[in-house]
Point group: C2
Chain length 346, copies 2
DNA sequence: GTGAAAGCGCTAACAG
DNA sequence: CTGTTAGCGCTTTCAC
């Protein structure tokens, strides 16, 4: 009486073939005559058959699912990455399962265990905790293919790194070439490691240009976004104000733009601005804000390729590393140093 | 030789109990002696046993997974909602599977089918296509518990609606009470239905205050965000400019702030601004932008409750509707109408 | 190329 | 309270 689930047995019966043949037909295995294939397909259409995923996983030991643990889903870059990877992996027959780590080691570990329990075929991770031993141990002792994104972790897993240093050097030189000497660097505090590399690259570029480490102009936004506004206002109104800003983080950038407008400084006439990261509004802002952007498509491509290669290929091959480059979008927010300052310095 | 997976049989053997008892112990069923429970737990710890999710799903017909289809993962509100729901559902033993519809009916349908195929225990949806018959048919013919978020869909499923109209009326009156008469409403074009309701509520509030439908001040941002900037500049520099803006959409708000600064209009001295939606920067902007915010926690709570009730309880109970309220955050961006205009009107 | 049969690891029904 | 047994729906040998 109860309308039983349509299973492969029903399909096979209607098609007049055996259970095994029906299965082979569905999975596009070699040894199937085109006639059988057609008959099965017709039966499927008639019955509206949908295979049971659970049964498939149990039997084949392939879940066709990839676990994705990001530090937070609300980070715009991560959200875009997730969306793009989901689309790409779906096309390959995989489903992406999203979990957030929230920089909490316990939570992250629980997520990894969940991935294992649910038999993920692979995983993509941005662990917030780069040092927590339990997580590193878990990863290294796990057989599961995995790709780590933009984290300096000592691991046997494959890694996709963003090439921060050269990118930051490049924009620093860009500003130096425009005559700027007082350049401020503002970075948000969240992504610890990448920012450390950014700061270093910035200082190196300055030093290479004969400018002593400008400690007074490197700011880590340790507290709230509100304070960034005050800080920038302070800088602009203070003695020997910066003529250019390199800004990392969406909220940081907003605060800088806001502060600039508040003190009546014009962009790029009075201050030049380059953003690390390219949020939507950067392009449409008046004037448009020059930005360093990591190519989402590149990251997605490299990550998915690495992962699928590992899943399908040799699991004992040694760890791979891919390096993703940044693009610099030169836009109107970037201009030559104001004359007064140029004279003052030289 | 190959280190076989530890299964429940191994656990039972080590604990010296039967397979059935081990299963019952794990699942916390009634009829288990505390001794058995302990022995099993010890065996689990020793062996490092993790149950096979696939086998459980196949046998129990419960996947402990909820499908979540949002129109896009990159929408900040949705990202926050997802993150909060994920946490809440995880605590209840469920995993949230995220898929994006991208306002593409085919894609949405494919996602729904995937949810069915993978035996989701329930789903949470924001269909972009409120009219597509195939999707409505699929939903109505499906037995799967589901909650629809903020969509005016005729469906048998449970629904959580955001109470847009009263909220918009309220902020319109807020501005009217401050003496504003020329109030512009700018909405992004994406969420068709909610915005239709917002516009209507706005016009009603104006009419109730004896002000004719201000068609010249209601703008749907049909094209790019760049045009919003131009449009607002046009309005502010034109004849009889608005003294207040009600703005919906993060990018729209950014454009308005940008345009306001560009023409040198001060907030709130020259123009007042209220945002529909409360992005991070609204609070930290100088001055802070007054905003209508929907309480994420409320939505999450109502949605999850509705869903779990449906999953655990009576599936044939008639459809439920929950209504979520908005909070108005009065902030400094909102002030009395400028004297010149007040005189001009009265 | 195809059919028959053997489980994947677990829960649920039943008998004790 | 516990052990035994029968599958869940499918893929994958293994014969033929």
């Amino acid at each position: 009486m109860s309308k039983k689930r349509v299973d492969l047995r029903d399909v096979a019966a209607l098609a007049g073939v055996s259970l095994g043949s029906a299965s082979r037909a569905i999975n596009g295995v070699e040894n199937v005559s085109s006639e059988t294939r057609e008959r099965v397909q017709r039966a499927i259409d008639i019955l509206g058959y949908r295979p049971s995923h659970a049964a498939r996983v149990l039997r084949s030991r392939l879940s066709k699912t990839i676990g994705c643990m990001l530090s937070e889903a609300t980070n715009p870059l991560y959200a875009r990455l997730f969306q793009a990877m989901e689309a790409r992996l779906r096309a390959e027959g995989y489903v992406l399962l999203l979990a957030t780590g929230l920089n909490d080691a316990d939570r992250e570990l629980e997520n990894l265990r969940l991935f294992a329990e649910r038999g993920m075929d692979g995983m993509i991770l941005t662990p917030g905790n780069e040092r927590d031993r339990r997580i590193l141990d878990f990863l290294d002792s796990s057989e599961m293919p995995a790709v780590i994104l933009d984290r300096d972790i000592e691991t046997k897993k494959d890694v996709v790194m963003f090439n921060h240093a050269p990118a930051v050097k490049r924009i620093t030189r860009e500003l130096l070439d425009l005559g700027h000497r007082r350049i401020a660097l503002l970075v948000s505090h969240v992504d610890v490691r990448p920012n450390r590399r950014r700061i270093e690259a910035f200082k190196t570029a300055m030093r290479e240009h004969g400018i002593a480490s400008p400690n007074d102009l490197v700011r880590l936004q340790t507290t709230s976004t509100a304070s960034t506004f005050d800080e920038v206002v302070g800088l602009l109104k203070g003695q020997d104000p910066p003529t250019a800003f390199i800004v990392q983080g969406t909220n940081t950038l907003l605060s800088v733009l806001n502060a600039t407008a508040a003190v009546g400084a014009r962009i790029p006439d009075d201050v030049s601005i380059i953003s690390i990261g390219d949020p939507d509004f950067a392009r449409t802002h008046v004037p448009p804000i020059a930005a360093l952007k990591v190519k989402t498509e590149d990251i997605v491509e490299r990550t998915v390729d690495l992962l699928l290669t590992r899943i399908k290929g040799d699991r004992s091959a040694r760890p791979q590393r891919a390096l993703v480059q940044f693009d610099f979008e030169r836009r109107a927010s970037c201009g030559p140093v104001p004359q007064s300052h140029a004279r003052g310095i030289q």
